[in-house]
Symmetry: C2
Subunit: 297 residues, 2 copies
């Protein structure tokens, strides 16, 4: 048995499970049932971050292909023990959850204090990109690359990560280079795409989102907790590479460069589940599920 | 002092408050600071529903202009006491919260058991509509009407409510007419716009969203709680019109047919807050905040 997680379900009723034969419509469930092992990938342990809360583990996949300097800095901060005593200080309804190191004097060690913004890369002709056909309000093209939701400008030949639900970014102050990974945020609500290109995204939560989204909301300015005593302690932030294999969370992700993923997009666009009355035949970037599953122990 | 609620904040740092003079950029905060009493409205008590939870009150504005039969049925169900003992049975991450009457034999009284789908109306030339200029993935036109996010088809001269965060709809089974208002859902995550035209929307949560979004997630099929003992009790569902004036929640909503609301859209589109590095100059329907505030006692 594999436990599918992280899927956005379509129906608002308990629909009968559909048998997976050719006479049945192409639903997301059917697409997933018909995937093979080759459709799934295990994120590299060096790119996988564990945020350990009292309630459970949040798993993040970093995106060094888009933000290499920030990812390197985050790895350095983690391995320096910078995050010992880190806390979730901000839980902003329909927007973000943010954590930080409350000890402002804690040294960054070998990590850099300031980093130029990253996230917009120049793509070559062979860059992985599964394009969506229905356009986007914010960018000329949108789709998926290396498992992440992205926007593209074909004229400038640039591609950048998009602020969908679950994306992880680097908090910064007023200056463009004032972020360094010592404080990160996760998008927990409707996609704030106006942040694209204004702040560096570095990854995506691939497991454990509800550990963040069920936290009490901060009632202070910007959703910060007003009383530091309300901060949510973080037991540890670790790279999976530094955790014994037996203690790792066995998350697998559906590849986004496969025929199966294109079938999933098709299923989402056309909503062939019999619960639907009207065909939609459209899909927006942040409404495409990025399936994850736990492999059995 | 008025307490602004429900705003989506832009900055990911604590930015200094901006003074409200002409040399300052047009931010959403400034637009709100410069509104007058005429920019705000109080929803009609007959269109206002209170969902009373142990943790607090959720306030919903019904949309009889779009779904008159469903709104009438919901009023009848409320006044019949149909919802006595109702419970939140489903909390689906990044999707919906849904409540229902667990006693399936409870009579509907004078309420109708089946209702034809509603939500798509024919609009006349004078129908209230504040259009957004940047397009939409799902519909030919989008904007706001009577305070609600809507989509329009100018050729067919139809307009319908859109599934943005906070919208309230009528759960149904497989048949189009199988909903009646006895079970309602609230959109709590990224806008599931593929539901537009597939299920009847009847209103929007205007206060108290966090009472719903912080609930433990259901781990069963479609986010239902697996154990009925986990259901979240609802103390009462009432119309504000049936609640003594002194016990009503004094919510006011920014009108969407005003110059102030158009200024707010402008502020959101152009992101003139100095924290932003890149102008966006675009906005999608569900990223426009619909401000609410509590009037002082």
């Amino acid at each position: 048995m594999r436990a599918a997680i992280g899927l956005i379900s379509a129906a608002l009723c308990i629909a009968p499970a559909l048998a997976s034969d050719d006479e049945q419509p192409l639903t997301i469930s059917r697409v997933l049932d018909e995937t093979t092992a080759a459709d799934w990938r295990v994120p590299a342990p060096e790119n996988t971050v564990y945020l350990e809360l009292d309630s459970g583990r949040v798993v993040i996949e970093l995106a060094p292909g888009f933000a290499p300097d920030h990812v390197a800095n985050i790895r350095t901060l983690i391995r320096n023990g910078y995050f010992d005593g880190a806390e979730i200080a901000r839980v902003h309804e329909n927007y973000v959850v943010q954590w930080l190191q409350p000890d402002e004097n804690r040294p960054l060690g070998e990590a850099r204090e300031r980093l130029a913004m990253e996230g917009r890369i120049t793509f070559g002709p062979r860059a992985d990109f599964t394009q969506l056909p229905d356009g986007d309000v914010y960018a000329p093209q949108v789709g998926f690359s290396d498992g992440f939701p992205v926007a593209r400008d074909p004229q400038a030949q640039t591609m950048w990560l998009a602020h969908c639900y679950g994306m992880v970014g680097v908090s910064r102050g007023m200056e463009a280079d004032s972020g360094n990974g010592s404080s990160l945020y996760v998008v927990t609500g409707h996609s704030p795409r106006h942040l694209d290109d204004n702040i560096t995204l570095t990854g995506r939560v691939i497991h454990g989102m509800t550990e963040l989204t069920t936290l009490p909301r901060g009632t202070g300015n910007l959703g910060f907790y007003e009383d530091p005593a309300d901060h949510v302690p973080i037991r540890a932030i670790r790279l999976a590479a530094d955790v014994p294999a037996a203690e790792r969370t066995p998350v697998e992700l559906l590849r986004t460069d496969t025929a199966s993923f294109r079938r999933l997009i098709h299923a989402r666009r056309h909503n062939r589940h019999p619960w639907y009355l009207a065909t939609v035949d459209r899909v927006s970037l942040c409404n495409v599920p990025l399936p994850a599953r736990l492999t059995p122990p």
